[in-house]
Amino acid sequence: MDREDIILKMKGISKTFPGVKALSDVDFNVVRGHVHALVGENGAGKSTLIKIISGVYTHGSYEGQMFYNDAEMKFHHIMDVEKVGIGCIHQELNVVPELSISENIFLNEKPTRRGFVNFDKMYSDTVKLLEQIGMNAEDSVAISPNEKIKNLGIGQKQMVEIAKALAKDVKLLILDEPTAALTEVEVDVLLEIVDTLRSKGVTCIYISHRLDEIMRIADEVTVLRDGQTIETRKIADLDKETMIRLMVGRELTNMFPRVPHTQGELAFEVKKYSVDHPDIPDRKLIKDVSLKAYKGEILGISGLMGAGRTELFAAIYGSFRTKGKGEVYIDGEKIQINNPMDALKHGYVIVSEDRKKLGLNLLMNIKENITLAALDKVSKSGILNDDQEVQYSNEYMEKIQIAAPNIGVRVSTLSGGNQQKVVIAKALFCSPKVVVFDEPTRGIDVGAKYEIYKLMNELVEQGVVIIMISSEMEEVLGMSDRILVMADGQIKGEMDISEATQEVLLQASVIGREEHVK
């Protein structure tokens, strides 16, 4: 192989979080002036690697070496990273909504004259930068550098971020899922910008779940899986199917207590459900989704991050920022849900993916958390019945095997797995008919995972409808009886467990157009 001009070379990178090895011995080389794509499943280690390159994880918090322009880099602060010309555009945009475009671009280092900000220079520099990335080209609507960020669309905000990076004279630009929130047209514009940057000699590391984009823009692709580099190949030597195979390629271990279920009667149905995007007018986050869930089965909802899975079920729950439109039926009866109170009344509960924010009150103890969503069950005309509350809480604590000395323990002192069990106990205390488990085992240890799976099986036996949203494909394949795949706010595939494999699931979630219908 002829010697190429390597701008970034990472050697033997390992990074461990408590209990998890996020990266182990990763090698990663980026050729100057190329667009290098980084792909992998959720949790493959892409973000961790990016955070090391961009200095979020400082030198010393990981093992291995990083060379930039052949010099070893030891970043101790984000500023060190900027100084050498590495810029990073994160998935969550880092712009200040109330400030103008030019103020955002020159947020840290404004051009000054005699100690005062030189607004004229800032303005003209902004104009130049925007031109450079093709914003305000002749055929598009011109946007003033003085426009406030909050008035821009997501695509435009992203461009401002890119301009901000360019203002710092970036040589290596990292784009982390830049197209997750963009429309087709905006994606085209973004890819053009990346192409322009490449022709100007800027190297890009491009992370995306959308494999078509990668086929269009990348020069090389590196596949990560389970924290390891699987392969780096030239784009010419790759196609989407190979990429998927490389991303998945792993055996299922027997972590799942699968028991045969028999599909019962239809218990939960959603018809033509749509949800408007809360931030972007005239955009739909969920588009005409219809689904059915039956008693006696676990319905798995698969898909990549940003596919709209959580948003769909949160909107049905009445807790999403925008209201959904469509029909919801429980046990054949059409119901109207305006807020979580209504949802709970009809027996629809969610075990949230964000247990610290939505699931628990960390200042309260186990007992108070368990009963919070159904205080009526332990009170009479507004007066709490201590005895009953203690009795029920003990019952649930035993049933769900929450490991704690007693129900008076504050939940903030519990381990993640036990906290999750408290959230589940709280949901079950509402006597639900439909339970949505959103990422039920995220961030908890294997033992607790197994217990939660067993609990799901028990609930299914009792005739509770279980819908399990999960980004872990192993979990979806290990526990579901039927799987729906979501992408771009739509259901892109439905399959019985017997015909589902990781390849099929991933294909349905990344290649939105093809449909896998039973």
């Binding site: 979580p340 969610i350 009150n361 919070l372 009170s379 203690v390 008076g408 504050r410 519990l414």
Partner: protein, 392 residues
């Protein structure tokens, strides 16, 4: 995490809460010792000192209004709210009560009813603006402070409205007779015992009994001792002041509401994690508004006592800064400004510390400015201490 680790963490947390309360108790005792030492003529003669029966009785009477206001101020701060209008509303209601009696000759019972209804209405409006219109509590009640300051002047037209009817003045100035005080004290002691026994029985029934019967008895004896000593001290002067009796009744009822009702539980849930409370199907707006309405009741009671103590309605309340004393009392008593945590009874401790400073310093003939400086320092120190122990 193993069980053992969980255990240790739990104990350290319990210790921490106790540290906060004990520190404030210690502060109170140090203040008392300090003031006594500086005001007494000798070790044997406490008759003119801070610790004289007469002065202690005064002290409790002085703290009553702030304590009553503080009891529901705790709940408001628990919801991450604040009430800056409380002092002015106290004055406004006092003036309206005085006007009712002096200008319109309305009887005392009716005046009390009018005052309480007025208090609820005032706070229903402010609560609605906070809960339904979504305006920040700081702004709503700051506006309220100005509005009610104006209304006080409108009602009084700068004059003092006096005198009130005897029967209303009674609530501000009279004492419960010594025999009745003693009987009340014994009733409280008996209720405490019953409560302990009932809690114990309930715990035993649910296999949650962890504490020995000795611990229970010691706790009961300590609490009873505090109650009885307080009453004996009061009786050594003229008996329990009515405002103090009202304070204890209010704190008792508000504590019951906070700890034994679903409404109370919801308040703490909202303050501790608003998103999770909504997610658990709690009607946040309704409950938030109800907290403010409950606060309206106690503020009205404080307003009546304030007018009764002065035997007049006057604009002087504008300078008293009662709302800040009430907020300080809540905070010194352990209420967290970030919400979700706070005990109603803590307001008594807070109010007692504040009143001790005022009382002790004026007995020492120090200039009034010292009171403000020391109160300010203690308030900040209490919060600083709390954030330090919380971090560790």
């Amino acid at each position: 995490m193993s069980n053992k680790e969980t255990d240790n963490k739990r104990y350290s947390k319990i210790k921490k809460i106790d540290i906060r309360t004990f520190t404030m108790l210690a502060v109170l005792i140090i203040l008392w010792v300090f003031f006594t030492a500086l005001t007494s003529k000798g070790f044997s003669d406490l008759s003119t000192s801070f610790l004289s029966f007469r002065n202690l009785s005064n002290l409790f009477r002085q703290m009553a209004i702030v304590g009553i206001m503080g009891s529901t101020m705790v709940l408001i701060i628990v919801t991450q709210g604040i009430d800056l209008s409380a002092g002015m509303v106290v004055g406004f209601i006092g003036c309206v009560a005085a006007a009712c009696q002096v200008y319109y000759g309305i009887g005392t019972a009716m005046t009390i009813v009018i005052a309480i209804i007025l208090g609820v209405i005032v706070y229903a409006i402010q609560g609605a603006l906070i809960a339904y219109a979504g305006i920040a509590p700081f702004i709503v009640t700051l506006g309220g402070q100005l509005v009610f300051n104006g209304l006080i002047l409108a009602v009084t037209k700068g004059a003092t409205i006096a005198p009130l009817k005897e029967s209303l003045v009674y609530f501000g100035q009279a004492y419960v007779s010594k025999t009745v005080s003693l009987i009340l004290g014994l009733v409280v002691v008996a209720v405490l015992l019953l409560n302990e026994l009932q809690r114990r029985a309930s715990k035993r029934k649910n296999d949650a009994l962890t504490e020995s019967s000795t611990a229970m008895i010691i706790r009961w004896v300590l609490m009873s001792a505090v109650v009885m000593i307080a009453i004996l001290v009061m009786n050594s002067y003229r008996g329990m002041p009515i405002p103090v009796l009202i304070l204890f009744v209010v704190v008792f009822i508000v504590t019951l509401i906070a700890e034994k009702t679903t409404f109370g539980r919801k308040i703490y849930a909202i303050g501790g994690n608003l998103d999770a409370a909504k997610y658990a199907g709690i009607n946040v707006r309704k409950n938030l508004m109800m907290v403010y309405m409950l606060h309206g009741v106690t503020i009205a009671i404080a307003g009546l006592i304030y007018a009764a103590r002065l035997n007049a309605g006057s604009a002087s309340v504008a300078n008293a800064g009662l709302e800040l004393d009430a907020i300080a009392a809540a905070v010194i008593g352990g209420t967290s400004m970030s919400g979700g945590v706070g005990k109603v009874a803590g307001a008594i401790l807070g109010a007692l510390i504040m009143a001790s400073i005022d009382n002790g310093m004026s007995m020492m003939n120090l200039d009034a400015y010292w009171q403000f400086i020391v109160k300010g320092l203690i308030l900040v120190a209490a919060v600083w201490f709390d954030s330090r122990t919380n971090k560790k």
